[in-house]
Amino acid sequence: MKIEMNINGRKRIFDIRPDELLADTLRRHDYTSVRKGCDTTSCGVCTILIDDEPVPSCAYLTVRAEGKKITTVEGIAEEAERLAGCFGDEGADQCGFCNPGIALSVHALKLSAKAPTEENIRHYLVGHLCRCSGYQSQVKAIRRYLGDTT
């Protein structure tokens, strides 16, 4: 079946199976920043924005995305680049497998809250497992980023 989505501001039409998951569809079409880590919507590496809301795409049927606005990290490149700088300054980037998903959640957090507290940030990070950093450097980097831009 055919489906139409707006991905990062561009109209895309894909041929899909009805039982296909959005993470697989996106990866197949070279949106490789959308990663798969757990298959149970626990880890956050497949996070994308659907109509500006963070969603784990590994449990989202592609058919449900008909006509929706999809954002992957490639769609927020400037923001991701700035966040990368903050991660770099805090030593928060290690293996990086979780980073594009975090960038999208941080972007959504910025859209949703005026001045997020550390508590807000930690709450957002619960959906993004990281086995490398111990989280504290990520929290500092995100605070630095939000302070810079909000």
Binding site: T40, G88, Q94, N99, R122, V126, C130, S133, S137, V139
Partner: protein, 772 residues
Amino acid sequence: MKKTKTVNQRIRSIDGKGIMMGRAAYTDDVAPKEALVIKVLRSPHAFARIKSIDKSKAEALPGVEIVLTHEDFPRNPFTRAGQGYPEPSPHDKYALDDHVRYVGDEVACVAAHDEETAEAALKLLEVDYEIKEPVLDFEKAKGHASIIHAEEGIHEMFPIGFEPEKNVAAAYHMEVDDVEKRLAESEVTVTSSFYTQAQSHTALEPHTVNARLDYQDRLVLYSATQTPFHVRRILSQALEIPLNKIRVIKPRVGGGFGGKQAIHGEMLAAMVTMKTKKPSRLTYTRKEVFEATYTRHPMRIDMRLGATKDGRITAIDCYGLSDTGAYGEHALTVFMVTGSKVLPLYNKVDAVRFHGDVVYTNRVSSGAYRGYGAIQGNYALESAIDMLAEKLGMDPVELRQKNMIAEGETSPIFEIMGEGTEGTAMNMETCKLDHCVKRGMELIGYKDKFPRREIGNNKLRSVGMAIAMQGSGIPYIDMGAATIKLNDDGFYNLLVGATDIGQGSDTILAQIAAEELGVDVEKVVVYSSDTDLTPFDAGAYASSTTYVSGNAVWKAAKTMKKRLIEEAARSLGVEVEDIDFRGTSFKSKKDGEELSLSDLSNTLFYNDDQKQLSVTESYYGTKSPPPFMAGFVEIEIDKETCEYEVVDYVSVVDCGVTINPKLAQGQVEGGIVQGLGMAMTEDVKIAANGKLVTADFLNYKIPTGKDIRKLTTEFAASYEESGPYGAKSVGEIGIDTPPAAIANAVYNALGVRIKSLPITPEKIQAARMEKD
């Protein structure tokens, strides 16, 4: 210490931007689109013989390209451990075998045109099993009637105590002086058993591999591995493919922690591609990662300490029983580290003994995991030290200060115990444990907070601590090499076998080269871990990279500098002694004439006595200088529910000079939080039939961003003469202290000693009820 411009400076990682922006980088990102998808049929039984496999229906399914069973592989036993050669692990694994030894063991694999077809084909495979009695209790494994490895052909590479007929994968015994005698003479003794659990690595990127044949008909494997060169060697030996026909490339890796030191999936992908001549890809599901890769070795450790009344520790006896699971990967070496990187902490004893067995069981294989035995031993010893302090009526910190190893000292254990073999004698040229302990006390506020305070609301806050050591590579065994190549316009390629698995080694190795060559880090372009293009490196394990690979890079940079000075002298018509090397330029001390690096390199490429300047240097350690640390934790615990959380974890670390302070901090803090996971929540559980219960992140609980309130991390001023720019390694040291520190803090709060990990509120409750 000489003033440095790049080393020991806060420099952003060289790849963080591209990774954050989502550029294709990881193994699955670079898999060919048309690759066959491989799916693995895994055993539903803990122990069984495969009587037959009928693959006809699966093969007949449209879209299925090939089905492989044990009959399709040459019968060469190997170890998946991913170690140097000859390995200290028994060769007890066949790529596929006619026996399955744990729930999740590989039975067969299917390669099909898409995932759905491959999965459908798995269901069409008809396997007839002869079910055998599994061995699931590791304390009953030795001498059990059920023998897990009775197959022909398996062997040890050199004596490691391998006795498969007794279910023993390895055994070890060493003793200094007479422990029984010294313990009998001791005025105060402590005897206690401790249990550590299986822990899962849970790198966020699952184990991933893809294979293809290139236009020269060579097998090219992209693998999320910590050991590309070992992978090439082991594949060649097991599958009988000439080494020169294999290329292994490690792309960006999404975390390893020891879990990707081993071969997982590479054999199957290689065989599918060799047989079909088509590219193939295999990505483990998270369930497969949990069920069928590795865990940390569970252990029982019996610790006996003897001391004089005034607190001199006179004897330590440590007996261990380690569970290697279905295969003996890292069986001996993890076990030995439980002694060799723990017991020297208290080096002033008269007698010390370390002994025990590593047994096979029918559960998922244990293997390398950050800490590598030291975290298990540390939990037992550092718990027992607090127990001894209480018996002596001494402050536990004071007892440690009185007995712990100090700079300039040694321990006989270093010479006795190595990596499966004899060790290497060494003095502690750098050991700032004394500072680490004192500074840690200050940072946590030990004097005011020990042992506990009431904070109202039915809650207590208490502190606990532990000290730890690790190593810096495996001396005389593991080598790392680096090539530096000059380019026109005066920038360099740094080619290293060293394996960046997310810890930032590409960045710190570039920093070392840039410092020595006097250029900015951007002028050193790093390419790592490609068996065709980079020089050899044993890989990312055993806290090797900063010290071993870093020394190789440092040597290569020094040699390149020498070559550059020679060329500049020739070009300027002066002697080498007359050249003032300034990194981006050369100045003649004779006449002040200057030559830029850019001009020199362009001339060397195009105009005068043309040549490619390229140097390769290698390094292997002649010792393994330990990083040390003191870890102090403050917890807040509810007196009724016994639920607790970490208020602050203070780490004061001596890892020599930090090449990149922020990345080193990341190594420590990441290690601390993994260690806290092991201390507090993580527990790989199997059911009575051997089936894994904790097969996803919902049931296997690793720390999240909300679980740890604060981490405080500091580095001691320290300069290790034998390390690159004074550095020791730092990859593992962070993980060791949390289990004992938490156990000690819980004891200091409620007066109950939890002797098995993880330390859950339920266990604390049960211990309190028992006490009352």
